[in-house]
C-alpha cells in the first residue's frame, strides 16, 4: 500500500489546488528568503567549524523546504521537540538568531551556558524543547507534552521532528503506539533525507517508506515531497490543525535529501556517489522554489542575489556579536544539576575553585 507522494509546485509555475496554501506574494517570498537564510546560516556554521571557531556543526542543506515549510506551519503555543538538524524549523517558530549563534559558541552568550554541543539549543518561552543527541528520544516526550496540553484543554498541538534513521528506534515505536492509543494532539515529522550518516534508507527498513508505518499504530500517515515548501507547509499545517482539533495524531514523512555530509565530522564521499548527489542537487528545494516563483514573476535574479547577501550579512552580524563574548563561569560546571546544589556538588566546586599549583 504505497502512499502517494504529495507535491504542490508544478513545473509550469502553477500549483496543485488541493495543496495550495493560498499565500499572497509577500508570504511566498518570505518563505523563499527564509530558505535562503537557512542555507546561508548552515554554510557559515560549517565555515566556523572548519576555521576552528566552533567545535561542530550540523547543516540541513537540501532540506530547507522541509524545515521552513513545516516550521511556518506551527502556531504560537505549539510545542516543538526538535532534533539536532532542525534549526530551520526553530527559527520559523521564533527562535532568535542571536540565541542560536550564541549556542554555537557555548560562551556567555549561550543561554544554555555552554552545557551542550552546537545544534543542541532550546527556548522555554517558545516551547522549543532542549535538543539531545540520542536519536528519537524526544518522540515519546512529545506524546506526554501533548497529553498535558490536551488535559488543560489547550487547543495546541505538539510536533516531534526526527529522521529516517530515527524510525528504527524503540522510542519511535513507543511514541507512535502511545499516540495511537491515547489519540494525543501530535504530529511526528520525519525528514527522510535518505541517510542515517552512511546508512541508506533501503538499509534502514524494508517498509519502503516511513509514512507506511503509521498504519501499524492506527494513526494517519502522509508522504509529502520534502523539497516542495508549499506542499510541506500545507500537509503539516493540516496535520497540526487536525491534532489540536482532537482528530488524532499524524505521521508526516517529508521525502528529501541530505545534500551535504551528515555533520562536520562526516565525509559523505566515503559512502555515496557523486552522481547520486548531483542528481538530487538538481532537485535542490531552493532552486526549485525559486524557479517556480520566477515563473510566477514574483522573483528576479536580483531579489535572489539580494536575499542571500543580506542573509549572509545578518548571520555575520550575529556571529560578530557573539564570538568574542567571555567564556561561561567555571562554577556553571556544577550548577543546574539539581534545583538546589547538594553537599557533594558544593564539595566538588572546591576542585575547581582552588587554583592548583603546577
Amino acid at each position: 500500500m504505497e502512499l502517494p507522494l504529495l507535491a504542490a509546485l508544478r513545473e509550469d509555475g502553477s500549483i496543485d489546488p488541493d495543496l495550495d496554501p493560498k499565500f499572497d506574494g509577500e508570504i511566498l517570498l518570505l518563505l523563499f528568503r527564509k530558505m535562503v537564510f537557512l542555507r546561508a546560516l548552515d554554510e557559515k556554521g560549517q565555515h566556523l567549524q572548519r576555521a576552528g571557531r566552533i567545535g561542530f556543526y550540523i547543516g540541513a542543506a537540501g532540506q530547507e523546504a522541509a524545515e521552513i515549510g513545516s516550521g511556518f506551519a506551527l502556531r504560537k503555543g505549539d510545542w516543538v521537540f526538535p532534533s539536532y538538524r532542525d534549526q530551520g524549523a526553530a527559527l520559523m517558530h521564533g527562535y532568535p538568531l542571536p540565541s542560536l549563534v550564541g549556542q554555537l559558541f557555548g560562551n556567555s552568550k549561550d543561554l544554555t551556558k555552554g552545557k551542550q554541543m552546537p545544534n543542541h539549543w532550546c527556548d522555554r518561552a517558545l516551547c522549543i524543547v532542549s535538543v539531545s543527541s540520542p536519536v528519537a528520544t524526544q518522540l515519546p516526550q512529545a506524546v506526554g507534552a501533548a497529553y498535558a496540553a490536551r488535559m488543560r484543554g489547550e487547543k495546541t498541538a505538539v510536533i516531534g521532528y526526527f529522521g529516517d534513521g530515527g524510525s528504527s528506534t524503540g522510542e519511535f515505536h513507543a511514541a507512535m503506539n502511545f499516540a495511537g492509543v491515547f489519540r494525543t494532539p501530535n504530529v511526528f515529522f520525519c525528514s527522510n533525507n535518505q541517510y542515517a550518516i552512511s546508512t541508506p534508507f533501503a538499509r534502514q527498513t524494508a517498509s519502503g517508506s516511513v509514512a507506511a508505518k503509521a498504519a501499524a499504530y492506527g494513526i494517519e500517515g502522509v508522504r509529502v515531497d520534502g523539497n516542495d515548501v508549499l506542499a510541506v507547509y500545507t500537509v503539516t499545517r493540516r496535520a497540526m490543525e487536525r491534532a489540536s482539533e482532537g482528530s488524532g495524531p499524524t505521521l508526516v514523512e517529508a521525502v528529501t535529501y541530505r545534500m551535504g555530509s551528515h555533520s562536520t565530522s562526516d565525509d559523505q564521499a566515503r559512502y555515496r556517489s557523486a552522481e547520486e548527489v548531483e542528481e538530487w542537487g538538481r532537485k535542490d528545494p531552493i532552486r526549485r522554489y525559486g524557479g517556480w516563483l520566477k515563473k510566477k514573476g514574483l522573483l528576479t535574479d536580483q531579489d535572489e542575489a539580494e536575499a542571500s547577501s543580506s542573509a549572509r550579512e545578518e548571520v555575520q552580524r550575529a556571529v560578530a556579536a557573539c564570538e568574542s563574548a567571555p567564556p561561561v563561569p567555571r562554577e556553571s560546571l556544577v550548577e543546574d544539576v539539581y534545583a538546589e546544589m547538594p553537599w557533594h556538588l558544593s564539595e566538588q566546586l572546591e576542585w575547581i575553585r582552588e587554583p592548583i599549583a603546577r
Binding site: 528520544t137 497529553y147 513507543a174
Partner: protein
C-alpha cells in the same frame, strides 16, 4: 494516626497528592482498573478517572518518555514501573533524558517526574522480580533516589518526592509491602528528602542501611546486644543525595561501620558509602568499613534465602568489626 501496611501508605500518599494537586497524574502498566499488580494504586482509577490514572501499553521507554513530556509541560507525573527489574528498557530515557534536562537546558526545562517501582527480593521472584538497581541511578547525576523502610516514611517520602522539583527514583521494598505495618499520620504529611533516620541508637558500631534491610539490621543488633555489642542503625531513607552528616557523625562516635544492602556488592552503593566514610572519618576508624551485601550473581530463585543478607551474616560482620 492509623495503622497501615507500607503499600497502603503508598496508596494513601498517591490519593492525597492527587487530591491536593490536579497536575499529579499516574501512568504505568495495569495500574488502572487492576490497581497495580501490588495494588499500590487500588481505587485511584475509580476515584480520579482514566485520564489521571493511565493504563499504558507495555513499553517502559514509552512510560518514562511520556512522563518526561508531561512534566516538561506542567504536569506532575508519577510513573509506575511494574518491577524495577523491568526499568531497563527505560534506562536511556532515564539516564540520557530525565536526569539531564535541567542541566542541558541550563534550567530552562525541568522534568519533575517520580518513578515508583517495587524493588528487592523476598517474594521468590527469581532473576527478574527481585533486583535492587539503586546503584545504577545513584551513579547517574541529576537523579534523586529514595527508599523507605516504614509505612510512615513511605507516605511522607513519596509526598515529598511528588512535590520535589527534581526527578526522583522511588524504590519500594516489595518484601515490606504487606509485612511492614505501622502507625501513619493521617492527611497531609511529608518526610524531607535527604534526611536519614536513626532506627536504633548505639555506640559500638554504625550499621548503614535502607529499605528492607533495616529490619535485618535491627534483628542483628538485637543479637549483638546479647554479646555486649550495641550497634547504631541508620536508615538512610534518601539514598542520594545521602545524609552524609548523619553517617559521619555516627561513625566518628562508634569508630566502626558496616554497610548493609541487598544489591550485588561490586560497585554497589555500599562501595560509595565505604569510600566516603574512610575519606571523611579515616582517623576515627578502628576497623575497615565492612560491606554485607547480595552476591555478584544474578538473583537466584531456589537459593534466594541464601542470597539475601540475613541477621547471621550481618552479625558476623559486626563481630569482625568489633574484634578487628
Amino acid at each position: 494516626m492509623t495503622a497501615m501496611t507500607l503499600v497502603q501508605a503508598i496508596n494513601d500518599a498517591l490519593a492525597l497528592e492527587m487530591e491536593r494537586d490536579p497536575r499529579v497524574v499516574l501512568l504505568g502498566e495495569d495500574i488502572g482498573k487492576n490497581g497495580g499488580v501490588f495494588r499500590a494504586t487500588e481505587g485511584l482509577w475509580a476515584r480520579f478517572g482514566p485520564d489521571r490514572v493511565i493504563d499504558t501499553p507495555l513499553a517502559e521507554q514509552g512510560i518514562v518518555g511520556m512522563a518526561i513530556g508531561m512534566a516538561l509541560n506542567g504536569l506532575r507525573p508519577v510513573a509506575e514501573i511494574q518491577f524495577s527489574d523491568f526499568i531497563y528498557p527505560a534506562f536511556d530515557q532515564i539516564v540520557s533524558e530525565l536526569a539531564k534536562f535541567r542541566y542541558r537546558s541550563a534550567g530552562q526545562f525541568t522534568a519533575p517526574v517520580v518513578i515508583r517501582t517495587p524493588t528487592g527480593g523476598g517474594i521468590k521472584g527469581g532473576h527478574y522480580h527481585s533486583q535492587s538497581p539503586e546503584a545504577y541511578f545513584i551513579h547517574t547525576a541529576g537523579l534523586k533516589v529514595v527508599m523507605p523502610s516504614t509505612p510512615a516514611d513511605a507516605k511522607g517520602l513519596l509526598a515529598s518526592a511528588v512535590r520535589d522539583p527534581d526527578p526522583v527514583i522511588f524504590l519500594e521494598p516489595k518484601a515490606l509491602y504487606r509485612t511492614a505495618k505501622g502507625e501513619v499520620p493521617e492527611g497531609d504529611f511529608t518526610v524531607p528528602l535527604g534526611k536519614a533516620r536513626i532506627a536504633r541508637a548505639g555506640e559500638d558500631v554504625t550499621i548503614v542501611t535502607y529499605g528492607a534491610m533495616v529490619q535485618v539490621a535491627e534483628e542483628a543488633a538485637a543479637l549483638a546486644v546479647k554479646e555486649g555489642i550495641n550497634p547504631e542503625v541508620i536508615d538512610l531513607r534518601t539514598l542520594w543525595p545521602m545524609d552524609i552528616e548523619a553517617v559521619i557523625r555516627s561513625v566518628e562516635r562508634t569508630g566502626r561501620a558496616v554497610v548493609l544492602h541487598e544489591a550485588p556488592r561490586t560497585c554497589g552503593f555500599g562501595a560509595e558509602i565505604s569510600a566516603l566514610v574512610q575519606e571523611k572519618a579515616f582517623l576515627h576508624l578502628k576497623a575497615p568499613v565492612a560491606r554485607v551485601t547480595g552476591f555478584d550473581t544474578p538473583f537466584p530463585y531456589s537459593l534466594e534465602k541464601l542470597y539475601i543478607p540475613d541477621a547471621g551474616r550481618l552479625l558476623g560482620a559486626i563481630r569482625a568489626a568489633v574484634d578487628f
